[in-house]
């Protein structure tokens, strides 16, 4: 496949897996938790790098899952100590992120891992860093990792669809039905961390937030059905990844920045034009509905 093709494929995989996960984040009102995890994952990656001295996918994933779960546990713990929920999120992720940045600046400070890379990603380097796979041939490592994560995400959603649906919309009912709500929460949080770290290489920490939240929020404006929302959100993710790439090529600028910006455009269009919950339909509706 061509150079551009690999970039587009990687970006689409990011858009797809983040879009799927994002739906549950929005419905559980945990959008800012995604922001927190995407920041603190940096610490996990840096520590994994300091211990192993190499930037390999597997170690980074483990470090990231630990960092993500640590964030979730700490937020939960501080919240139980009567700190407001969003304040405890704010305390935890800024601290972990700051430690990560300090470690990069003081311990790592070399070409392998720098702060800008972690924040903004370097999707342009993705096609160069390939691994050999049986039957398929040379595949960029990031794309391979993302494909695996996407499969895991899909399997998890298929396996826990019913459980997550109930826990998202009615946690009390879920608990009374005997669904392990807390366990589901932590499984979900680890999935968010895995998705975040796999997307890290491609779009960086901040853009992951855009990919996680914005397409799902846009999809939320189009439909009331969870299954439709999942499909739409994934499609919006892919759409913004691809259009973001072409905006970046057109303006010759940061690819991840443009992808985040493209998710914003998709959201704005949905916000204004969606037939169900869009702004224009609200303006128009009073003139058409009263006769009914």
């Amino acid at each position: 496949m061509s150079y551009t093709g690999w970039i587009l494929l990687t970006a689409s995989l990011v858009g797809l897996s983040c879009g799927l996960i994002g739906v549950f984040l929005i419905l559980r009102r945990m959008a800012m938790m995604a922001d927190a995890i995407s920041h603190s994952v940096l610490l996990g990656i840096v520590i994994a790098f300091i211990i192993t001295r190499q930037l390999s996918g597997g170690h980074m994933l483990i470090g990231a899952i630990i960092a993500g779960l640590l964030t979730a546990v700490l937020v939960q713990w501080f919240n139980s100590l009567s700190i407001q929920h969003d304040a405890s999120i704010g305390v935890v992720f800024t601290t972990l992120f700051a430690i990560g940045v300090i470690l990069i600046a003081t311990q790592v400070g070399n070409a392998h891992l720098d702060v800008k890379h972690a924040l903004m990603g370097e999707i342009t380097f993705v096609p160069w860093n390939t691994i050999e796979l049986p039957f398929i041939g040379a595949v960029p490592e990031a794309a391979f990792l993302l494909a695996i994560v996407l499969i895991v995400v899909l399997l998890a959603i298929l396996a826990f669809y019913k459980e997550w649906k109930i826990t998202s919309f009615d946690p009390a009912l879920a608990a009374s039905l005997g669904i392990p709500v807390m366990l589901m929460h932590y499984v979900f949080m680890s999935l968010v961390s895995v998705t975040t770290v796999a997307s890290f290489d491609a779009v960086g920490a901040i853009m992951v937030v855009a990919m996680l939240i914005t397409p799902a929020a846009a999809a939320y404006l189009w439909t009331d059905r969870l299954s439709v929302m999942l499909v739409l959100s994934g499609a919006f993710g892919v759409l913004s990844a691809i259009s973001g790439y072409y905006i970046a090529v057109w303006l010759d600028t940061s690819i991840s920045g443009s992808m985040a910006f493209a998710t914003g455009l998709v959201f704005m269009i949905s916000f204004l034009g969606s037939p169900k919950h869009g702004l224009l339909s609200r303006v128009i509706r009073p003139f058409t509905i009263p006769s009914a």
């Binding site: 304040a87 704010g90 800024t94 992120f97 853009m207 600028t253 914003g264």
Partner: protein, 305 residues
Amino acid sequence: MTLLLSPNAQWVLLSTLILGMASGMIGCLAYWKRQSLMSDALSHAALPGVVIAFALIGTKFLPVIIAGAAVSALIGALLIQWIRSSSRIKEDTAMGIILSVFFGLGIMLLTIVNRTASGNQSGLDGFIFGQAASMTRQDVYVMLFLALIVMLVVFIAFKEWKLFLFDADFAKGLGMSNRLMNGVYLAVLVLVIVIGIQAVGVILMAALLIIPAVSARYWTHSFKWMIILSALFGGGAGMLGTMISTLGKGWPTGPFIVVASSAFFIFSLLFGAQKGLLIKALQLRTQKKQLIRPWNAQVKLEKGD
């Protein structure tokens, strides 16, 4: 350490001290308005304004950059408000959208500006993680002046803030305009964020608003003392972080300030006089003793010895 003795470094230290105090105070307001993460969204949203302001004037003239950042953060705040009030998107989702999309736009613009010859050496990257060492004397004056205004606003209208935060309906009944208060609140919040971005950076500025306020909460139940303590913690963290960051070459200031304030937070969490873990454990123990002693006595009586 010799660096610390130079007059310029002392000015920078003073400015981060005052900045920390101002943001500690405003952080208390944000905490009680339950909008701690709003500051995070707004500080990220300031980035496009910083870059556009730089691109327009071509130099890093701080007042203009601050104005640009403020406009951009205010647009972000209004968009969050608009999305929340006119669709079924919740506030935290709206904040996440604005935060990431604005930051993405900022990075896009930053990449374009950095490509030009003048932008390359501008040190605009310093606005992401903060670079207090790059501040000139004039920048320090601007920061000090604005931070003092912010602190004055909290100080003068202290009674009104208290009413507004804890019983907005009562405040309305007394004839206070909640709309005006909301406006002033947003204005000082944005102001303290934008003056902090040069020293602390857009990504971590929110920490300076959130962490000192949460730490102060462990020491007192009084709003007045919470603000005073939060200002002390913020100022201390600002100074300490800046001092540590001067020890290494090219170390970013922001993360060190944040870690310093987290150290204050952990200390407060453990030893805080009102809700600290230690005091809670001690209280639990004395309560247990008080309950168990009469019970033990009764058991002894019943046994007959």
